[in-house]
């Protein structure tokens, strides 16, 4: 056999690869699988998630990792679609080496993977805030954001008690998140004796909100509440609201406070109240995280990175506490977490797997979000 250039090249490559493979085996990691929107309309969320996770992993591994090994986060793209989420999750499961998972911040995608999560039988950290996700009997979801029972309760209380407004218009996205939030809000308003004058849905990625704004104008409310999912939708809605002369107080779900929303909408968002799970002024932990994140990525941190940052810390803590990667033991350890001070609030996991039970109220003051107050409920 003559030594051709190709065989020489292949030989060199093999020789180079062999020690690498051994090194890998010696440095085995404990893996958490994650579905992340790397592409599609929520790709900006994916970037924030990646940043938050990177910070959490560095901190965890600097402190010795989990069970003496490094913690690793392996991701699959969910393309911001339900089929993408299902496919990504099944890819992660079929790897066979993930001890737990992180899911989506979008309720509709969490909903989509729910049956597969039950089959996989391992803990999944989620950020979707539709209350039903942790209330429909799936024991493997653990939420590191407060659900929309609480956000809507805070919105209703704040609007009625503090702002003294009784004529409500509710605008929501017709996906799982928006619909869940709208239902919870209408329910909580009802408990306070208020029936909204308008409940108006709109599909995600609606290019033009003129019909919605005109419906709001016609209903003549004195306060507007919103559960809109995507930042660009919030921004377009905000701009058209202002252009068509709607100036009533507006209390929005967390997406109104997202960094991207503010950048896109500019002055159209001034004065808007937001109900948000993450605020840098809510706690010293949140403040420290915000500062570190800004220093590292030159971006303002928001809930889109904070939930996954907390989630990975909670998983690492639970695995260390359980002294095992057994799914049931990790589950029990997460459920036992009480009083853990994360960036999103103080975690006390309840029987449903919800870790947090309160929200912050913030107001957009000429582009910066001013912390108003935090309202916590006893689970």
């Amino acid at each position: 056999m003559s030594l051709t250039r190709r065989t020489a090249l292949v030989g060199t490559a093999l020789a180079a690869a062999t020690p690498l493979r051994f090194a890998r085996a010696a440095e085995a990691t404990i893996k958490i699988g994650g579905i992340v929107p790397l592409t599609g309309p929520a790709a900006e969320t994916g970037k924030f998630m990646h940043n938050g996770a990177t910070m959490a992993l560095e901190e965890i591994n600097a402190k010795g990792g989990v069970l003496g090994k490094k913690l690793e986060w392996v991701v699959e793209d969910d393309a911001t679609t339900n089929p993408g989420a299902v496919l990504g999750f099944s890819r992660l499961v079929s790897r066979g080496d993930c001890v737990a998972y992180t899911g989506s911040i979008r309720s509709t995608q969490v909903n989509a993977i729910s049956p597969d999560v039950e089959k996989a039988g391992k803990p999944v950290i989620i950020g979707g805030t539709d209350p039903a996700l942790t209330h429909s009997g799936n024991p493997w979801f653990f939420r590191t954001r407060p659900n929309d029972n609480y956000s809507s309760k805070v919105m209703a209380n704040f609007g009625i008690d503090t702002l003294k407004k009784k004529k409500w218009a509710v605008v929501y996205a017709t996906d799982a998140f928006g619909t869940g939030g709208m239902k919870a809000l209408v329910d909580n308003l009802g408990k306070l004796g208020v029936k909204p004058v308008l409940v108006q849905g709109a599909a995600d990625q609606t290019a033009d909100f003129t019909p919605v704004v005109l419906a709001v104008k016609q209903a003549n409310p004195d306060i507007l509440a919103s559960y809109v999912t995507f930042e660009n939708d919030v921004a377009i809605f905000a701009r058209q609201l202002r252009q068509l002369g709607v100036t009533i107080p507006w209390v929005g779900s967390a997406s109104v406070t997202n960094t991207a929303t503010g950048q896109l909408a500019g002055p159209a968002m001034w004065g808007v109240y937001g109900v948000t799970d993450f605020d840098k002024k809510a706690s010293p932990e949140a403040a420290a995280y915000y500062t570190a994140y800004e220093k590292r990525f030159h971006l303002a941190a928001d809930n889109q990175s904070a939930w996954i940052y907390d989630g990975l810390h909670i998983l690492a803590m639970a695995i260390n506490e359980a002294k095992s990667t057994d799914a049931q033991k990790i589950r029990a350890a997460i459920m036992a977490i009480k009083g853990y001070k994360g960036t999103e609030g103080t975690y006390n996991f309840d029987q449903n797997g919800d870790g947090l039970h309160g929200y912050n109220i913030v107001q957009n003051k000429k582009g910066t979000w001013a912390f108003d107050k935090r309202i916590d409920f006893a689970s």
């Binding site: 592409t39 599609g40 309309p41 790709a43 900006e44 994916g46 970037k47 017709t174 108006q200 849905g201 709109a202 599909a203 990625q205 609606t206 290019a207 033009d208 003129t210 019909p211 919605v212 005109l214 419906a215 016609q218 930042e231 660009n232 921004a235 377009i236 701009r239 252009q243 068509l244 002369g245 991207a260 950048q263 896109l264 500019g266």
Partner: protein
């Protein structure tokens, strides 16, 4: 009444964008007999080029717009070279598939270069608009309507009154005959690609300040533009314009008076109705089955 006029105004504005992208579709259908699935990405690329020109190179607005359109015209030729030219003798389908490939490639390359965060594009005018009789006239929608009308007029003049336009039309009608008459067919086809990409860029530059500039912005516009094309008549130039405007107005009114969440459904319901009742569209000619 004010509400009706407001809806009509925004519907026409959105419709004009559909019309411009639809026009780009139709020109390529005529010239090369292909449906270009990357047509929406011409709009997306145009908008990103303008963002680049304004925010990174700090060019004055008019200079940045002219540069964007010129660069996109050149890009149209390159696009033809990559997707159409190598497959031109293999029938329409392989070319269509290769434009789908180009679409995926372009969107992901922009996602890689620019990241997923939507970009803000300033409008042509500083003022957001003004109110007349309770109707808010968004300055950007006005710009869109004015530009679209001007372009349509210009195109009509070029196509009907100049030799170049007649040559392009002849090429579209019968390439063999045109080449026998000494018309440089290849040049005409490349010119059409360049013009189609430039039209896409104009649409992107116009709609960017309203919808923001993101990788996915072209996708939904292109889908509606294609629907407009079917309504107006497959491959009909006046059909593309009327179809686009009709679709924009219909979906806005449908959303306001029937149901907002099903807004996108109206567009496609209309397409289904046309396919069932008048498949040749508004301006299309009935194509007789060839023996």
């Amino acid at each position: 009444m004010a509400m009706f006029l407001q809806l009509l105004f925004t519907g026409m504005g959105i419709g004009a964008v559909y019309a411009l992208v639809s026009l780009g579709f139709v020109l390529l259908i005529c010239a090369a007999n292909i449906v270009n699935f990357a047509q929406g990405d011409f709009a997306m690329l145009g908008a990103y080029l303008l963002v680049l020109g304004l925010n990174v190179f700090s060019l004055p607005y008019p200079v940045a717009i002219v540069l964007t359109i010129l660069l996109m015209a050149i890009f149209g030729v390159l696009f033809a070279g990559a997707t159409y030219w190598p497959l031109r003798f293999r029938g329409a389908l392989p070319v269509i598939i290769s434009t789908i490939g180009a679409q995926i490639f372009l969107e992901n390359i922009v996602l890689y270069l620019y990241g997923p965060v939507p970009q803000v594009l300033p409008g042509v005018f500083n003022s957001p608009g003004f109110t007349v009789g309770g109707v808010f006239m968004d300055s950007q929608y006005l710009t869109i309507l004015a530009t679209a009308s001007l372009l349509v007029l210009l195109q009509y003049l070029v196509f009907e009154k100049t030799l170049l336009g007649k040559k392009i039309q002849a090429t579209n009608q019968d390439k063999e005959m045109a080449s026998l008459l000494g018309i440089p067919v290849v040049f005409m086809i490349l010119l059409t690609f360049a013009y189609s990409a430039a039209l896409g860029a104009v649409a992107g530059v116009l709609v960017g300040p309203i919808l923001f500039v993101s990788v996915g912005m072209g996708g939904s516009i292109a889908l509606k533009a294609f629907a407009a094309n079917i309504i107006g008549g497959y491959g009909s130039i006046p059909g593309a314009i009327v179809g686009g405007l009709l679709l924009g107005v219909a979906e806005t009114f449908g959303a306001a008076y029937i149901s907002v969440p099903y807004k996108d459904a109206f567009a496609f319901l209309i397409v289904l109705a046309f396919l069932a009742v008048r498949p040749q569209g508004l301006f299309g000619e009935k194509v007789a089955e060839k023996a």
